[in-house]
Subunit: 434 residues, 2 copies
């Protein structure tokens, strides 16, 4: 027997919400702020060479990314098939009891069903996947995109991943598995880490994955899938064991949410906990819906955070330049002076002065070592000090960036949260219900 | 509606097993080995002054102790009432929503119902509670015994405790709470740590209690009581949170068993998980039954362990004596010599020589500091060397002790585990089923 799917469409408002003009306008405004106030500063001080982390237009306009991770054959692909209702169709992802997913599969919206090679996805800078190019051809061969028209994919992009296989050597994969995982983990808006209760063993690779969640704990959700295949008593044992194994690896006060259910189209085996499983499924869908509804807020916050980092970088480079020119006399060797400063910036209070000026935690400052490399590649002469980045017509770069951080972006955030026309609480959903 | 109780009597074989003659004989034999082979050595080298831990006859013949711990009003007393079927009788322990148990209540077998004052229990050396005297009058006033005729109490002794109240200051109790808990924890054959899912907060006192379980993890069982009062989804959350909070405090690979049920006579609220709750209750009763069936094995192992410690102590004192007499010349100051040896026994390889001789781990050796105190109180002249503890008729103390450890006690253990008369597997139960 197949289960009814109406609760999925209902909880996610798939048929009752459309992309509002307001949403599109706010997204355009965000792009605009980024391009006029943040990007010029990035370019002026080559921020992307420090972090190797450029923000592309694709990332600003991209949909929330839902990442599926976990051991092999726990039902990750089946869960995606279930959420999208692909079971029995030709678009269905291949699933099975052996490891079946050997590729990172990005399932996204498109006018018609088609697959996109990884190498093509990475080349297209309007997509948010172009930075993946740095993981090499070996990885791009393991990356594939699937486009299809789907209401849910209008809202989110799903990423299926090859299952964790313990005891496999890193080099056998042909690409840096941990780094690739970290890239997706860092960008995912929701991370579903899926488990099968009948084979829950926390080995080295899974342990590594848990550790990679550092800083992303609030995006992490655990799923004890196929929960209907074991007795309730066994399920409780496994559930407890999961928290037990996870506790030393995930360093947060509150445990991550664990959803216990069976995410596939067939009816639950047995009768005992079907009410629980359905409630858990709806809780998970609510969770997913929150991510959809808050995506613009999240994106604005992300861009503002990015702007703050760019500002710190600009202030640091400016300070390095100032120190460099102060120290550089007529007869001194520029190379010696540079080396002296970058090898021990603390002697010149470079980082301390930024701390004093910016009200940020010292833990958020970049590494000194990163700047040693940075100035090794980019000579001081390549940069102008901040005071020179001003123009009669456009004002100063720093002023614009600071205005974006302290005014424009907060105002944009406010504008989408206010309730201008009615007194009743406006749904946060930019996907306006019709 | 009251629940049926037949599964309790059935799982614990309350009506079908009686104390066998074999059991009584083996217990007598154990007492005999202790008194002829271990106790004389204890006395000769004042072992109880080192450890402050004398084994009394009461402890050898005592029944398995089941300890109930946990926050207040989680249902510890109700659970005891339920197990004993006291609900509605005049023997019922007082229960309620406020902290109701202010005393350590020892519920044990007796010919008729009566209460015994703590001060009386501590004075009676045939009971296993006489060592509790050391916690002072303030504690003895908080200790009470209840005797009643009961099939379950013929097999085990139950100990109810005052609930943990977080944020209460230690001195307000009027006795050393942590030490008292540790005493019971160290001696309990089964420790039921009971929780209420609606008020699970792990505070300082509970944290301390978890830490006190070190070395006793295999006796520890957690109980999520009143599990029928919350929804299954909430129950799962709390269950996970319990493992999560416990993991950093309990340092074992496997998590302790957590039983999820509702241990009181009334029928479960709601219908969802009644099958689970009943299965969990039966698993707990099975667990309890194992302790009853294995009590003699456990006791023999305990006495053998005790014998090993007494032997190490005797060998150490002997070595101290030998070193002392070797060093003591005609003109040396005995006090100086003693001080020199006890303050740095490693200089004379005292502990190393015992390690070499006894095949024990250095972590099982007593502290050097303990012997500094020991010889401060007991002058060397009080002791004779091991070689003098031999007699024509009785042989040497050390030989007898070593024979008990390596032969007599293992043989006794074997005798109760063998199946002399039939080929079918004999039930481990000394409580022979009729």
């Amino acid at each position: 027997i197949m289960r009814d799917r109406s609760h999925i469409e209902e909880t996610l408002h798939l048929n009752t919400a459309e992309l509002s003009a307001e949403f599109t306008a706010a997204q355009k405004k965000l792009l605009d702020i980024y391009h006029t106030a943040i990007k010029p500063m990035e370019d002026a001080y080559k921020y992307n060479e420090l972090r190797q982390y450029e923000v592309t237009d694709g990332e600003i306009t991209s949909k929330p990314m839902i990442l599926f991770l976990g051991p092999w054959s726990v039902g990750k692909s089946s869960m995606i098939n279930y959420l999208l209702g692909l079971h029995g169709t030709s678009q269905e992802l291949y699933t099975g009891a052996e490891p079946t997913t050997s590729e990172y599969t990005v399932i996204m919206h498109g006018e018609k069903f088609r697959t996109v090679e990884g190498i093509v996805m990475a080349a297209d800078s309007s997509r948010s996947f172009s930075p993946l190019e740095k993981f090499g051809q070996g990885f791009l061969e393991r990356l594939v995109g699937i486009e299809m028209p789907h209401k849910l994919l209008e809202r989110v992009t799903l990423v299926d991943t090859p299952g964790i296989i313990e005891n496999r050597k890193q080099q056998e994969r042909g690409y840096p598995y941990n780094e690739v995982c970290q890239w997706f983990i860092d960008r995912a808006d929701l991370i579903f880490l899926v488990f099968d209760p009948t084979k829950l063993d926390v080995g080295g690779e899974l342990e590594m994955l848990f550790r990679q969640m550092k800083g992303r704990e609030s995006q992490l959700r655990l799923i004890l899938n196929k929960a209907d295949t074991v007795s309730t008593q066994d399920l409780m044992r496994v559930y407890g064991a999961l928290f037990w194994s996870m506790a030393p690896l995930v360093n947060v006060t509150e445990p991550p949410r664990v959803y216990v259910s069976s995410f596939w189209p067939l009816d639950y085996t047995g009768d005992t906990s079907r009410e629980l499983f359905m409630k858990e499924e709806i809780s998970l869908l609510d969770d997913l819906n929150q991510v959809i509804e808050n995506q613009l807020e999240n994106k604005i916050a992300f861009i503002r955070q990015h702007g703050i980092r760019v500002r710190i970088h600009a202030l640091l480079v400016d300070r390095y330049l100032q120190t460099y020119y102060d120290k550089l006399g007529w007869f001194s060797d520029p190379y010696e002076v540079l080396h002296d400063i970058v090898s021990d910036p603390d002697k010149y209070y470079i980082f301390k002065s930024i701390l004093a000026k910016t009200n940020i935690s010292k833990f958020d400052l970049p590494d000194k070592e990163a700047y040693e490399d940075f100035f090794g590649v980019n000579p001081m002469a390549n940069f102008k000090q901040l005071s020179y980045h001003c123009s009669w017509s456009g004002g100063c770069l720093l002023d614009k960036l600071e205005k974006a951080i302290s005014h424009d972006l907060p105002a944009l955030l406010n504008s989408i949260n206010t309730t201008p026309d009615t007194c009743e609480e406006k749904p946060k959903n930019r996907w306006r219900r019709q």
